[in-house]
């Protein structure tokens, strides 16, 4: 392991050297996007902290007021657990922004419980332990990294047993909670740049398409989310026009309602 680490470090130094001496060949200034339609890969859903990072650069955010650690209801339906798992991981990113160690630890345990409930507990036990240790040391960068690893491990474990749809629900839960927090912050301190962070029409279409392919999940909250996304779409798919304050508020109302639905029993 030590040898591997040494090798990795040496390789990293070599790569850094490459970056200094290597240049990219000239790329075309313009390409025809329509011609790419058959070769486009699925979108990678951004983690909430990617959005929170951009939000932080617009001004100080009082992250503490967005920390949520309430236990919520417990579910037995796998789609509901998957959605909740996504939102709880997103809550972890909020707690990291707030540098709230007790909340991070509590969320780490909750993630573990939910992962066990869905049958992928083994894959994240080491991450949950690492989250607690890093939170004790207030090593926020490591906590962030472990939360990312947690989500990745959970989704990989689900994909391995062909539970891709549950994996997509984890992403959806995280995206909804992230959007709820983003719109809450921007509603309180409105700025056009903050509102622009909501310009994610392709991501929304991605989730709509995925939800359409889950008719076997007879869970009311999924139907509710599907209907709500139809309402959100025109508010964020505005082309080059700015997203107004009223739209941000509406999206916040919708995502808050959905967020409550995800954590509450029907």
């Amino acid at each position: 392991m030590l040898l591997f680490t040494k090798h990795l470090k040496l390789s990293a130094i070599a790569v850094a050297g490459l970056a200094l001496c290597a240049h990219a060949a000239q790329a075309p200034q313009r390409i025809d996007i329509k011609q790419l339609s058959k070769t486009v890969e699925d979108v990678v859903v951004p983690l909430p902290n990617e959005i929170f990072g951009a939000l932080n650069k617009l001004g100080a955010v009082n992250w503490k007021e967005h920390v949520r650690t309430d236990k919520g209801a417990s579910f037995t339906e796998r789609p509901r657990i998957a959605l909740l798992l996504g939102t709880v991981i997103a809550d972890g990113f909020v707690a990291v922004q707030a540098e709230d160690a007790p909340a991070v630890k509590e969320i780490g345990q909750k993630v573990l419980t939910l992962a066990k409930g869905i049958g992928v507990g083994n894959s994240i036990t080491p991450h949950a332990k690492a989250i607690t240790e890093a939170a004790d040391k207030r090593d926020w960068e490591s906590v962030r990294q472990e939360l990312d690893r947690t989500q990745n491990s959970v989704q990989q474990a689900m994909n391995e047993v062909h539970d891709e749809k549950l994996s997509q629900l984890v992403s959806l839960g995280g995206w909804l909670r992230g959007t709820e927090v983003l719109t809450s912050v921007v509603t309180k301190h409105f700025s056009p740049d903050g509102a622009e962070l909501l310009h994610q029409p392709d991501l929304l279409s991605y989730f709509q398409t995925r939800l359409e392919r889950m008719p076997e999940y007879k869970v009311p909250i999924l139907h509710e989310i599907q209907e709500a996304l139809v309402d959100v779409k025109p508010l964020i798919d505005v082309g080059n026009r700015p997203i107004p304050r009223e739209s941000v508020k509406k999206i916040n109302d919708i995502t808050t309602r959905l967020g409550n639905g995800i954590v509450t029993r029907d």
């Binding site: 990795l8 390789s11 990293a12 130094i13 790569v15 850094a16 490459l18 970056a19 001496c21 290597a22 240049h23 990219a24 060949a25 790329a27 075309p28 200034q29 313009r30 390409i31 025809d32 996007i33 790419l36 070769t39 486009v40 890969e41 699925d42 979108v43 990678v44 859903v45 951004p46 983690l47 902290n49 990617e50 959005i51 990072g53 951009a54 939000l55 650069k57 617009l58 960068e141 962030r144 990294q145 990312d148 690893r149 989500q151 990745n152 740049d193 622009e196 962070l197 909501l198 310009h199 994610q200 029409p201 392709d202 991501l203």
Partner: protein, 149 residues
């Protein structure tokens, strides 16, 4: 050479050949990802958070793949492409949703690696175009990772 030494020598060669076969046969997107992460390593020290998630696949020489990615104004992104095929020539470039080149000019490509850098002017969808320009293999594994700060 005694018969015993001959047999032993033969077995060692056979094992070595099997080892080489294993390396070639089981080279995968995971190996390509290792190289992509290797390219990202120096940037972590500069504060970039590298995502655990990644894209991967295989392409023939001259083939391209587009990856759609949501980017946020205010963040800075690097995309790192890796392959395990030593003499392959690979590239990665970033375009906005209108198909206009959006990357900064400090991207680079060399051997197993290529990288592209963007500070998005607007929040929205971007296309990351990965390409195997040339390769001695029929199909070349690739993996793309990204980081932001």
């Amino acid at each position: 050479m005694t018969p015993f030494v001959k047999i032993l020598f033969g077995q060692v060669i056979l094992l070595a050949m099997l080892g080489l076969f294993r390396l070639t046969a089981f080279a995968s997107v995971d190996d390509a990802q290792t190289f992509a992460l290797q390219a990202a390593e120096p940037y972590v020290k500069q504060g970039f958070q590298v995502r655990e998630d990644y894209w991967g696949g295989d392409l023939g020489s001259g083939e391209k793949k587009a990856v759609r990615q949501q980017l946020f104004k205010g963040n800075e992104y690097w995309f790192w492409l890796g392959t395990e095929v030593e003499r392959a020539k690979i590239s990665v470039h970033i375009y906005d949703s209108d198909g206009k080149l959006a990357e900064d000019p400090d991207g680079w490509e060399k051997g197993h690696f290529a990288a592209a850098h963007v500070i998005p002017k607007t929040t929205g969808s971007y296309f990351i175009i990965v390409s195997v320009e040339d390769s001695p293999e029929e199909r070349t594994h690739w993996a793309l990772v990204y980081g932001f700060r």
